[in-house]
């Protein structure tokens, strides 16, 4: 069995175990309502995490995702407050803005050969500030809480049966992305560009274009998540999404996509997203302070990464020893 399969098995086992423990500790945990709300939470993070998984597969990082969520929701609110345009016009515009931000990130990273972290950290700062500037203000100049009443927009927060639309979209997007990554040339190019950019170039892959595409997709995912978040809250605030990077990164890393690039897939990210959502929900259901959520999540990231590094080191050591032994034996014969 492959490493990632073992990892998924362990995580799924943990998911079930924690679920059982929680349902014993607090019977309301198993209520359909709670489960669906938890899935809704997971899906909001998960949609962003899908884009982020692709970023990590290219060995990059995107620190701007939270700020993209903020700016997208502010764009929507501006349309709602100052124009009569219908939702089916301004929502695509907001999604396109997410893609455009991703393009800018990708352009600076590839064209000027800048570190991904620096570029996206800078755009994060710029976008977070812009979100505050374009936020709708009252007469005193304070940010106004705009209540969204557009029924088309609000329908994004609705359910189909008991399942929230965002959960359905998350699952469909996950399946489509997984299929795209594994079964199309473009997906293969993304893996190759992350695993070994030099080799990818020598094989005729346009690495720069591939990277720009991935950053655009990440921006798109963040923007999409933002729409669902605003629809659910029935309002939008310029702080939306800021700080959400922690949950997103945790979900992807726990799911088994390393920072080194070339490896990872969406299935792992789905499990990682569920895991984080479960932990957060569990903390609430156990009556603990929500303030410990980031502490626990930070701890989980450390534990996972340490386990990964330890395992990798162990496996490599074994492999090189075996290879050397073999080499020595045949040298002996050859000498």
């Amino acid at each position: 069995m492959s490493v990632s399969a073992i990892r998924r098995l362990i995580l799924t086992g943990l998911l079930i175990a924690i679920g059982i423990a929680l349902s014993i500790a607090n019977p309301t945990f198993l209520k359909l309502d709670n489960l669906m709300t938890m899935l809704q939470e997971a899906s909001l993070t998960g949609i962003v995490a899908i884009g982020f998984t692709l970023i990590l597969i290219t060995a990059g990082i995107d620190m701007s995702i939270g700020a993209v969520i903020a700016i997208t929701s502010m764009i929507c609110v501006n349309f709602i407050s100052y124009t009569q345009l219908p939702a089916y016009i301004y929502i695509p515009v907001a999604l396109a803005a997410g893609c455009a931000i991703g393009w800018v990130n990708g352009f600076f990273i590839t064209h000027f050969k800048l570190p991904e972290f620096i570029v996206t950290l800078a755009t994060r700062g710029i976008l977070a500030g812009l979100a505050l500037i374009i936020a709708v203000k009252d007469e005193q100049g304070f940010v106004k809480n705009v209540f969204i009443e557009d029924p088309v927009f609000l329908s994004f927060g609705e359910t189909v049966g008991p399942v929230y639309i965002v959960t359905i979209v998350f699952i469909l997007l996950a399946i489509a992305t997984q299929f795209f990554m594994k079964r199309t040339r473009a997906g293969t190019n993304i893996y190759a560009s992350g695993a070994n950019p030099t080799a990818a170039r020598l094989s005729g892959i346009n690495v720069d274009r591939t990277l720009i595409g991935v950053y655009m997709f990440s921006g798109f995912c963040a923007a999409l998540s933002s729409i669902f978040l605003a629809a659910r809250m029935m309002t939008a605030m310029p702080e939306f999404g800021i700080g959400n990077e922690l949950d997103v990164i945790a979900s992807v890393v726990i799911g088994g996509t390393p920072f080194t690039g070339g490896i990872g897939d969406i299935w792992g990210t789905i499990i990682g997203t569920l895991f984080i959502a479960l932990i957060k929900n569990g903390i609430l259901k156990l009556g603990l302070s929500p303030y410990i959520q980031p502490i626990v999540i930070g701890g989980i990231i450390i534990v996972t990464v340490v386990a990964d590094v330890w395992y990798k080191h162990h496996a490599e050591k074994k492999a090189t020893q075996a290879a050397r032994r073999k080499a020595m034996e045949s040298k002996e014969v050859g000498a």
Partner: protein
């Protein structure tokens, strides 16, 4: 051997000139390949082999000359993609394979078979196509193997399959056996002959004379960026190739450096049966006070590994080291404290900190002697030591605040040596002392080493530059595949003798 091959040429380069904004790397080189021949390209380090290959494959552009490939003129603005389309493939060690992907994915990267009418990869078909190719050539592989788990030799066969799937008519192999075992090399030679039988032309670059001798139909010898000779058939013998590679009729004092027997002096370092799995095999030698002991051998023969083990960077599995009469188990800290100096092979990576001043670079290895017991560094002492190093070694510019990254290669190397000179030095290890160093600074480096040895410092020198090795050493040990294969102790030694030993040619005949 095969004179009756169709006389038409696959590749014809005429009068190739190349300079990288400075020294002429290639001048008026002619290089031609016949269809379906195995053609070896040989020359010493820096002879221009890699530059010639880079020009043919379009990684770099020529300054002058014409190239005709398969009847087509190749323009000066040639590039990698264009050369691939022409059917030129380079087999890299493992550079162009994608980790985490299967053999089949690597072979068909960017040209995966798609399902009819859909943009989706037909994985089954791709695996089947790859498996068919593997079986056709009888390789020991599975289409679904993940690259990461394959040994280097098999990764190479994946590279070859990838080239074949590109319909390459010319395959260039650069030092393909340098990390292969004897058995694996044999298998590779079989594959190369198979390629030849299919009409594919193979260019083979190697330092290992016995391989060149066994495989090649023709041999092109380069020296100092010029074409020396093209050998064919009976003319190809290891001794002749080595003679041509070294070339110039050597003057007495240039090549025949007389060795000095200093083995009656006090033993500084004794190494007994040192072994490290896959790197060193039962290495034993003694190093004496004031002696310069040279280590020759091919790249990968274990010279650098031996130095690193003695200095305490890498662990070893078995063996004993005695230093100044006492048993010694090395760690870097202990080595520095006991009077070792180490000038590593890759200056930029391991020797200098480019963004820091000369003072800072020299201070870092001497913090023990320039700081107070409380741990504060004395700037005055640091500066004083740096001035000493600058004046003894003639470092230019003589400005202690100058950033080391902005110095010339030769002066950078002086800073690395300078770190150790200002200490109570007893043993100096120098790995490739003059790589990337200009001629003037080279001579200064030699004089420094001579002077140190006169002062009683024991020196170990690793060098692939044969004139340098013979010029510096009082005694030369040649390593091959982690073992000591030959030791030159007295009289005169020629570059030719060292190269023969390093190539595994023992007393004349090919092994």
């Amino acid at each position: 051997m095969s004179n009756n091959v169709k006389s038409d040429l696959l590749l014809e380069c005429r009068g190739i000139d190349k300079n990288y904004n400075g020294p002429q790397v290639l001048s008026k080189v002619d290089f031609s390949l016949r269809r379906g021949e195995i053609h070896a390209l040989v020359g010493e380090n820096g002879a221009g082999k890699s530059t010639l290959i880079k020009i043919v494959t379009g990684i770099t552009n020529r300054n002058a000359g014409t190239i005709v490939f398969d009847g087509h003129d190749v323009p000066v603005e040639h590039n990698k993609n264009a050369s691939e389309k022409l059917g030129i493939a380079v087999i890299y060690q493992e550079l162009s394979l994608i980790h985490g992907m299967t053999v089949a994915q690597n072979i068909f990267l960017t040209k995966e078979p798609l399902m009819p009418g859909l943009p989706f990869i037909d994985i089954k078909k791709m695996n089947a196509m790859a498996q068919e190719m593997i079986e056709k050539y009888g390789f020991d592989l599975k289409a679904t193997d993940i690259i990461d788990r394959l040994p280097i030799a098999q990764r190479q066969t994946v590279e070859i399959l990838k080239a074949l799937s590109n319909k390459a008519s010319l395959m260039i192999m650069d030092e393909p056996t340098s990390s292969l075992t004897a058995k694996e090399s044999e298998r590779l030679f079989k594959i190369i002959r198979m390629l030849k039988a299919e009409g594919i032309t193979v260019v083979y670059i190697s330092h290992r004379m016995e391989e060149v001798y066994d495989l090649s139909d023709r041999v092109t010898v380069l020296r100092d960026g010029k074409l020396v000779s093209v050998l064919e058939g009976e003319e190809i013998t290891p001794a002749e190739i080595i003679r041509l590679m070294i070339g110039r009729e050597l003057t007495e004092d240039e090549s025949h450096h007389k060795m000095v027997d200093k083995r009656d002096r006090e033993v500084v370092l004794e190494v007994k049966n040192l072994s490290a799995e896959g790197k060193l095999n039962n290495v034993s030698f003694k190093l004496h006070k004031g002696e310069v002991l040279g280590f020759g051998g091919l790249v990968g023969s274990g010279r650098t590994e031996l130095m690193r083990a003695i200095y305490g960077i890498d662990a070893f599995d078995a063996g004993e080291i005695t230093y100044l009469g006492k048993s010694y188990s090395p760690t870097v800290e202990k080595s520095i404290a006991s009077g070792f100096g180490f000038v590593p092979e890759e200056r930029r990576l391991q020797g200098i900190m480019g963004g820091i001043s000369i003072t800072g670079n020299i201070g870092i290895a001497n913090l023990d002697s320039i700081s107070s017991p409380a741990g504060f560094v004395s700037r005055d002492k640091e500066l004083e030591r740096t001035q000493t190093a600058i004046s003894t070694l003639n470092i230019k510019p003589a400005n202690p605040d100058h950033l080391v990254g902005n110095l010339s290669g030769g002066n950078q190397q002086k800073v690395v040596v300078g770190k150790w000179l200002i200490r109570d030095l007893k043993l100096l290890i120098v790995d490739e002392p003059t790589v990337g160093v200009d001629i003037g600074a080279k001579e200064e480096m030699y004089q420094t080493i001579d002077r140190l040895s006169r002062e009683g410092v024991a020196v170990m020198v690793v060098s692939s530059d044969l004139p340098e090795l013979t010029r510096l050493s009082d005694r030369i040990i040649v390593l091959r595949k982690g073992r000591i294969i030959k030791e030159f102790t007295e009289g005169v030694v020629t570059e030719e003798e060292v190269l023969r030993a390093a190539s595994g040619i023992v007393e004349g005949g090919a092994k």
